[in-house]
């Protein structure tokens, strides 16, 4: 048996040839050198970046660029806004999407397939198509330039995502558990909050983090629907560092790293889930 599977592995996962190694090295370089350059620039002195014969490694590494970020009150406000809006988006999407996912997964009613189709298409609608109408609608109900308005606009793309992610997870819940809850006399509402949601907590957290990441990364709505006081970091970055064509590149790279760190932390926490979640097509590329 062991021998057999070893042979199988040797065939399905062959060793790399010399040419294969070169190709792999080239692709890994393409993937990672820009990350190196992002990091190296962030630790470089502002004046060194413009030197003609500068070294490709920061010889006098500095944390000034990071310090400058945390001394910039506008950017700190953007950072706080990012946390508020992304968290709000995640909570709203997971709660509403969780109920929807449970409904789609465990109940059968007419129109159910149409609803699934609706959310599947919802995943494909680009933000630009909603932009003008959302601007007008949020304006007419007084939610333009508010956290609530921005959270609602982010939910246009995070809700379909959480619905499908959570439906996949709830499909795996055995119906017997729900039957047992019924037999034990638990009400249908209590079943949700005392049986179903607690059983899928890891899934709820994962879906919430996906929604958080998507909200955190959005630029279009942050730029147009948030206004200067409520805008999130991506919108802030486009304004803080570029003036008349010249830019403070080390400062911008440091701020970019800071913007990326929360997502890196989430990635590490969710690494296993990412593989299947990505494969489900549930996450934008």
């Amino acid at each position: 048996m062991t021998r057999r599977s070893e042979v199988g592995e040797a065939i399905s996962q062959p060793r790399l040839s010399g040419r294969g190694r070169v190709a792999l090295a080239a692709l890994v370089a393409f993937g990672l050198l820009p990350i190196y350059w992002l990091t190296a620039t962030a630790f470089t002195n502002r004046s060194d970046v413009f030197a003609v014969h500068r070294p490709l490694i920061p010889l006098n590494p500095t944390i000034d660029n990071f310090v400058a970020f945390f001394q910039n009150t506008a950017l700190l406000q953007d950072l706080a806004n990012s946390f508020v809006v992304s968290t709000g988006t995640a909570l709203l999407s997971v709660f509403v999407g969780g109920l929807m996912a449970y409904s789609l997964s465990k109940f059968r009613y007419s129109g159910r397939n149409a609803l699934m189709l609706m959310f599947l298409i919802g995943q494909l609608i680009p933000g630009a198509l909603l932009l003008v109408s959302l601007y007008l609608i949020l304006g007419s109900v007084g939610l333009l330039y508010t956290y609530t308005g921005l959270i609602l606009s982010f939910t246009t793309f995070t809700l379909p995502l959480t619905v499908f992610l959570l439906k996949g997870i709830m499909d795996a819940l055995p119906d017997d558990i729900l039957e047992a809850a019924k037999v034990d006399g638990l009400s249908r509402i209590s079943t949700i909050f005392r049986i179903v949601f607690p059983l899928v907590v890891p899934g709820l957290i994962a879906a919430g983090m996906f929604a958080f990441m998507r909200g955190w990364s959005d630029l279009l709505f942050a730029l147009t629907l948030a206004g200067p006081d409520k805008q999130t970091l991506p919108a802030g970055l486009t304004q803080a560092f570029i003036h008349e064509g010249t830019a403070d590149w080390p400062g911008l790279m440091a701020a970019s790293l800071i913007t990326s760190i929360p997502l890196a932390i989430i990635f590490v926490l969710l690494q296993r889930f990412f593989v299947s979640g990505l494969a489900a097509g549930a996450v934008k590329g």
């Binding site: 350059w37 970055l237 299947s276």
Partner: protein, 317 residues
């Protein structure tokens, strides 16, 4: 509906969360009419939210497209199809640019993603570390990716020009030329997307029919033949699906292009999304922007049907 795709591509034998065993179809339903009503009630908040923030904006966009309306002043006047007459030529111009961008930025990451997955499917030390690190470009927010590549391609101090100068070549302002700018945004988007495709293909490769491969090897099939007739048919479905999704997402891409080129130089990288933004928030012409959106929506309907049909076919396979 998507769970069948998920089934095929589960990689980790111990996932953080339980993965679906079936997509629920054909399961005997023991649910009463009251439960059905309750089930629908649970769906209501999501349905209402979706109607208010997605469906209603799409429909009201159709109305806005029939009016002359400014972003800066309240009030609007009905102009019929005038907006459409004004923007239809522009629409097809932008559509061409959008297609060039979204097709290139789909093909390139698919090639790189598939190649990397096949290479990383070999036995080697440090394989998982490489896989993890190669996810980083996907992880970064779109604006960060765009700023990073703007800096790399920068005409004066960019590292590409630095390297060119080292070998004696003159500096070029890559983002300043129409072709260079398009190539630059495609490369940036490719770098951002290939990890996603790599992961999907790696996942599909985990479920390769090992016994079939062994039998083929015993029967004397070469490595190329085994790939051609066993591995390739096994991964082509998931690859087609992500390629389609990638194309749809690229079609609506805003952040990469807006940050790197702002649609320029000239109109050379002005895609539909950037143009729609410019019409609404640069020219303050909400009617024209909405008309652009409606034409785009019709197109999206056609493209999405393609995706849905592909999705359905892979599901029933």
């Amino acid at each position: 509906m998507q769970s069948s795709v998920l089934d095929e591509t589960v990689v980790d034998p111990v996932p953080l969360v339980p993965l679906p065993e079936s997509n629920g179809r054909g399961r005997r339903s023991k649910i009463s009419a009251g439960d059905r009503r309750f089930g629908f009630m649970l769906a209501l908040p999501a349905i209402l939210l979706f109607l208010v923030i997605s469906l209603f904006p799409l429909v009201s966009g159709i109305f806005t497209s029939l009016f002359k309306q400014s972003l800066l002043r309240p009030g609007r006047t009905f102009v019929g199809l005038e907006n459409y007459g004004n923007i239809v030529g522009e629409f097809f111009d932008r559509l061409g640019t959008t297609l060039i961008f979204s097709i290139s930025a789909t093909i390139l990451p698919v090639i790189i993603g598939v190649a990397l997955a096949l290479l990383l499917n070999s036995r080697m030390r440090g394989r998982n570390v490489i896989r993890g690190l190669m996810m980083l470009p996907w992880l970064l927010p779109g604006v960060v990716v765009a700023f990073l590549w703007s800096w790399i391609f920068n005409g004066n101090y960019g590292v590409i020009n630095y390297l060119l100068n080292m070998v004696g070549a003159p500096s070029t302002d890559i983002l300043g030329s129409p072709l260079g700018a398009m190539a630059a945004v495609v490369i940036a988007k490719t770098w951002n997307s290939f990890p996603w495709i790599m992961v999907v293909v790696l996942a599909a490769l985990q479920t390769l029919p090992t016994e079939q491969l062994e039998a083929a090897a015993l029967d004397g099939a070469t490595r190329q033949q085994r790939f051609r007739f066993i591995s390739f048919p096994h991964i082509i479905g998931p690859v087609a699906l992500v390629a389609m999704l990638e194309f749809i997402y690229n079609f609506g891409n805003f952040d990469t292009i807006f940050v790197m080129t702002g649609g320029g130089p000239g109109d050379s990288t002005t895609t539909l999304a950037v143009d729609l933004y410019n019409l609404a928030f640069g020219s303050y012409d909400l009617g024209a922007a909405s008309a652009m959106g409606v034409l785009w929506l019709i197109l999206l309907g056609i493209i999405s049907s393609g995706y849905l049909i592909l999705n359905r076919r892979l599901e029933t396979r």
